[in-house]
């Protein structure tokens, strides 16, 4: 048994960490979110060169054919830097859906474009993952799709969307279709573009092999990747808090020497530490233990969410008034 990362995986992690820390700054995040730009285009093209978008895509379609475990390691670094580019839908869920449910011609059409960074694909699975609200049901008839797909992920600059209905069918529609209206919403997290898609007889191409089970697997993958991003973000928030507590002085002492502050930092570290194993295990289960994926992904996502919320709150508190300002950027 070996519950650790390999040399090669450490290298992948290290190289993405270095790149993100060089390319992403509070300024670049701010610039993207304030300009309502869908994503940071310079970062996107640099990441295309590093192969970020094709991590999971098999080599014959131009990707690097890695497993979800490696993708989770990269996602942790992406979360640590808060990189303002689409990832979970366009680089994880869309390729996985196409690879498991698409036809050969669909794979040939889309996968190389995703891998090279030329195509971004949004994914709408909230009918399955979260349920429908009101009149949102989708209807497919005569090769046309109508209805509403809410909370579509990674819409920033998307050229196409993969949409799931409640019965477990998947359709791919192109962003330029005349019947497609996009309602953009400002999300709390300005680095994630979320939209509702309103479809009126939009040309839709089914992914023929789709089943509810396959879609559920991909939703699990999405949950695992989001948990990994939260893990990275939590670590970054702890690091910032510890640095601040080691510099800021009150009563002639750095505040990190006060137990009240020290203990907040210790509590964050203690909560975060075990999460890495939880996230790793879920990603490993996706690659090797299919029967455990659904539960492991939910445990990882739900627990990581609670921990990150606690860390976000506590880290803000350690920063005092500064933490509450936009200047500090903790809310990203």
């Amino acid at each position: 048994m070996d519950f650790s990362t390999s040399e090669e995986q450490n290298l992948i992690k290290e190289s993405f960490r270095t790149s993100f820390s060089g390319l992403v700054s509070l300024n670049s995040i701010r610039k993207t979110t304030e300009s309502k730009a869908p994503f940071d285009p310079i970062l996107w093209s640099d990441m295309s060169a590093m192969g970020l978008h094709g991590l999971l895509i098999s080599e014959r379609y131009g990707g690097s054919g890695l497993s979800l475990f490696e993708a989770a390691i990269v996602a942790e670094e992406l979360g640590r830097s808060m990189a303002p580019i689409p990832f979970v839908a366009t680089s994880i869920m869309a390729p996985l859906l196409l690879m498991s449910c698409g036809s050969e011609s669909q794979k040939k059409k889309w996968l190389p474009q995703i891998a090279s960074g030329n195509a971004r694909i949004g994914v709408a699975v909230s009918e399955i993952a979260g349920g429908t609200r009101g009149d949102e049901e989708l209807l497919y008839k005569d090769e046309k799709l109508s209805g509403k797909a809410s909370f579509t992920l990674d819409c920033g600059g998307a050229v196409a969307f993969i949409i799931a209905d409640k019965e477990g069918h998947l359709y791919i529609v192109e962003a330029g279709d005349a019947g497609l209206k996009r309602e953009a919403f400002p999300a709390v997290d300005g680095t994630r573009a979320v939209e509702h898609l309103v479809l009126q007889s939009v040309n839709a191409e089914p992914l023929e092999s789709a089943t509810r089970e396959l879609i559920d697997q991909v939703i699990s993958a999405g949950r695992i990747i989001l948990a990994a991003e939260s893990l990275g973000a939590s670590e970054a928030m702890l690091e910032q808090a510890v640095n601040y507590a080691g510099e800021r002085k009150q009563f002639d002492r750095v505040i990190g020497s006060f137990q009240a502050v020290k203990h907040m930092c210790a509590e964050m570290a203690a909560e975060i530490q075990p999460c890495r194993a939880l996230v790793w295990y879920a990603a490993y289960a996706f690659d090797h233990l299919k029967e455990e994926v659904a539960l492991s992904a939910c445990l990882a996502k739900s627990h990581m969410d609670e921990v990150s919320r606690f860390v976000a709150k506590t880290s803000t508190q350690v920063h005092g008034g500064m933490g509450y300002t936009d200047l500090q950027g903790l809310h990203f």
């Binding site: 070996d2 650790s4 990362t5 990190g256 137990q259 203990h263 210790a266 445990l299 739900s302 627990h303």
Partner: protein, 405 residues
């Protein structure tokens, strides 16, 4: 990342399985927990089982052959396999306790050959129980301020003072004890680590009733207790270093995630079988939600320990990951107990042995016992200091200036 056993470990797992199959009929019915809640000398059945496990290398496996162990190489993954397989079959593992889990590793690290020769074998076989003379009424978290004195007199020390929270002192034939041998030295340098019999003249033991209703620990008074100088472990004045080695082993013992998993599994059984208005408790959304949240935390601690074990087997030293285990493990156990009591509903108010749930009547006691463990072995707050100072590099609290306030 590869969670399959490699060849050597596959074989080892098979060995453990066939051992359990062949010998499980000899396993004692009494659980280790019953000994911990209410300490008493081990029964012959328990001792025989322990001796068998030691002989076969499933308990105290790294203790050298010369001292009665099986001299296996340190292999954390094999320890994990033993724990997993015993746990799956609900068969009691090797004994844990202050002697076996804390004193023996310390003695092997710091003791003389004679001391190892004399004490290791009977201790690991469960023949000799030890108690730990550390805390004093005025020296708890600030343990190094301890005042029990040992004054030189020929070849002996004469000990005077008082210890408190001394678990099992009322049943243990031996004690390992911190005393001040060099009062003129600095706080940390004047301490020695002594071992001596509890029936030495001048020792008085007063059991302390605890909130669990069991006298699990004691006050121990020393009045002119004469102990030979040869009782020192690890050198005179070196006791603080030796004591810290013991504390490290204690924290490891208190935070084993299998203990949390065991509690979780028992709760699951309870939720499946116990019904209110004819509906099993597990069907109630509020209870399910609470259960799943705990399940995630137990899972994360178990996997975390696996990760630490893997990294240690590759040569990584202990770090931040280890420092959080005592804090998180003890808090988690206590929350599991609290959850079990909550799902009992009105029955949760009953103290001992809930009538319709005999096997689970232990929760109310565990709740109190586990609260004690959050305090013992270095309080949660001391653990947080350690995490913040040694793990995260935050500065120490400045020392108070005498007379400043």
């Amino acid at each position: 990342m590869d969670l399959n056993d490699q060849e050597e470990h596959k074989t080892f797992r098979e060995e453990v399985r066939s051992f359990l199959k062949e010998f499980r009929h000899l396993a004692p019915k009494e659980t280790a927990m019953s000994y911990r809640l209410s300490p008493k000398p081990y029964s012959q059945e328990v001792k025989d089982w322990q001796a068998l496990l030691v002989e076969k290398g499933y308990a105290c496996r790294t203790v050298p052959k010369a001292y009665g162990g099986c001299g296996a190489d340190q292999d954390i993954l094999k320890n994990q396999i033993i724990a997993d397989e015993f746990f799956k079959k609900d068969i009691p593992q090797g004994l844990i306790g202050q002697g076996i889990s804390m004193f023996i590793p310390t003695l092997l690290e710091h003791g003389s050959d004679d001391q190892k020769e004399k004490w290791v074998k009977p201790t690991i076989n469960g023949e000799i129980i030890w108690c730990q003379g550390y805390s004093e009424p005025n020296s708890g978290s600030d343990l190094a301020s301890l005042q029990t004195s040992a004054v030189e007199d020929g070849d002996d020390f004469i000990i005077n003072g008082q210890k408190i929270w001394t678990s099992s002192a009322h049943i243990a034939p031996m004690i390992f004890c911190l005393v001040r041998t060099e009062p003129e030295s600095s706080k940390y340098k004047g301490i020695s680590y002594l071992i001596f019999p509890m029936n030495t003249a001048g020792i008085e033991i007063r059991p302390l009733q605890t909130m669990t209703g069991h006298p699990s620990f004691n006050e121990v008074f020393f009045i002119d207790v004469r102990v030979p100088k040869s009782s020192v472990v690890g050198g005179r004045g070196n006791g603080w270093k030796v004591a810290n080695s013991t504390l490290k082993h204690e924290r490891g013992m208190l935070s084993n995630a299998n203990g949390s998993l065991d509690r979780l599994n028992r709760i699951k059984t309870l939720l499946l079988h116990e019904k209110i208005d004819g509906i099993p408790l597990i069907k109630k959304p509020v209870i399910r939600d609470g259960f799943i949240r705990l399940q995630a935390r137990v899972q994360s601690m178990r996997l975390h320990e696996m990760r630490l074990a893997s990294e240690a087997s590759k040569g990584a030293g202990p770090g931040l990951g280890h420092m959080i285990c005592k804090l998180m493990g003890c808090e988690l156990n206590h929350e599991l107990d609290a959850f079990a009591i909550d799902v009992f509903g009105e029955m949760g108010v009953l103290h001992d042995g809930v009538p319709s749930m005999q096997s689970d009547g232990i929760w109310q006691q565990l709740y109190m016992y586990d609260l004690g463990l959050i305090i013992g072995g270095g309080t949660a707050q001391i653990q947080k200091n350690i995490i913040a100072e040694r793990g995260l590099g935050l500065p120490r609290e400045p020392l108070a200036v005498k007379g400043a306030l």
